[in-house]
Subunit: 208 residues, 2 copies
């Protein structure tokens, strides 16, 4: 089965399985979800599903790696090609937001079910998450060095960005008031401009 999975030509089918499994695990919790539940949701037999996966724990690890690879390929790698740090950040926030809205965030959130993994798997996932975090914070550090950042802590600001982006998975609904593009644009605006107009901001600050 391991060989079959590795050579599986149908990556789109695998992506579909990962997204569906992530939704179920998110809804029921990892412990309460059986491989049978996942097969049923996909309209497959358990044996058919084992054609694609190597067991529940391995599946969870694969889903997390899949999500982190999407993040690398669609956000971090293209962003790294953008020299200007402000333009790079704008691209990264919008692309990451679109990734979360596309999959209804199931994979995004699932990345936090990390305690169900073996210690070596946990180290691997933590390392990959850390690399992405460092990429974002590094961009903020560049902006700071260039005098382009507000007076904020770059670690807190990076977590602030990730919080806003990941929270999309809780509230964004396809067919709702905002399209994917509009939601991504709103996050960029809020992250870059903040919510208060500068004039008002000064008035509040000086009243303290």
């Amino acid at each position: 089965m391991r060989a079959q999975k590795k050579s599986a030509p149908n990556n789109e089918r695998l992506a579909e399985i990962y997204r569906a499994a992530a939704q179920i695990i998110l809804r029921k919790g990892y412990d309460a979800t059986s491989v049978n539940d996942i097969a049923n949701a996909l309209g497959m037999t358990k044996a058919g599903l084992y054609h694609y996966i190597n067991g529940k724990k391995e599946l969870l690890f694969d889903i997390m790696n899949f999500g982190l690879s999407e993040l690398d390929e669609e956000v971090a790698e293209p962003a790294r090609a953008i020299a200007d740090p402000a333009a790079r950040l704008r691209f990264a926030v919008a692309a990451h937001a679109r990734l979360v809205t596309r999959g209804q965030g199931a994979i995004t959130i699932l990345v936090d079910e990390i305690t169900a993994l073996t210690p070596p798997q946990q180290r691997k996932i933590t390392q990959r998450k850390r690399a992405y975090f460092d990429f974002l914070r590094g961009t903020l550090d560049e902006l700071k060095a260039a005098g382009q950042l507000q007076d904020v802590d770059t670690t807190a600001a990076t977590f602030g960005l990730l919080g806003m982006i990941n929270w999309l998975s809780r509230w964004f609904r396809h067919g709702g008031a905002l399209s994917e593009e509009q939601a991504a644009d709103q996050l960029v605006r809020i992250a870059f401009h903040g919510i208060l107009r500068p004039a008002r901001l000064k008035a509040v600050d000086s009243s303290q």
Copy 2:
């Protein structure tokens, strides 16, 4: 037992039980957590714990209500007494952030394990969460009407604020680089000012 719980004089003990139970449920998942697990973590017998609770599902409901009551009492109610909407928002963001850091966010996040509740319990919790959301968004709407808000959608901005605040539970650590007060202050700055200096922002905007 129900009567005992209602008349329990020791609210601090109850709060301690809710916070500890929230941590365990968060770590293990609601389904995988037994009343015994919670009793063990508290150094109590199961019978001793039943002195305070009416069963696992009822406990989950009580924890969520406890968290939402804290939010009302420490954030929404005192905030409502502040007439100026910008000052009210500043207070609410900082007070909510401190509430999340104090409890390491376990209760905050647990509020989303809502599907484990009965439908009437779910309606109650959803209603209370909605009321808090409406309070925050109402403050942004006031700022918008007064011409003090950036050009952002108030619903998206409210979720953006909540995302940043709730995400604190994932990264804030007591004894880390930032104190509770500093973390709360950082969130207010990022939410109000955004992360880029206005001059830079204009340059990026006009390059599109």
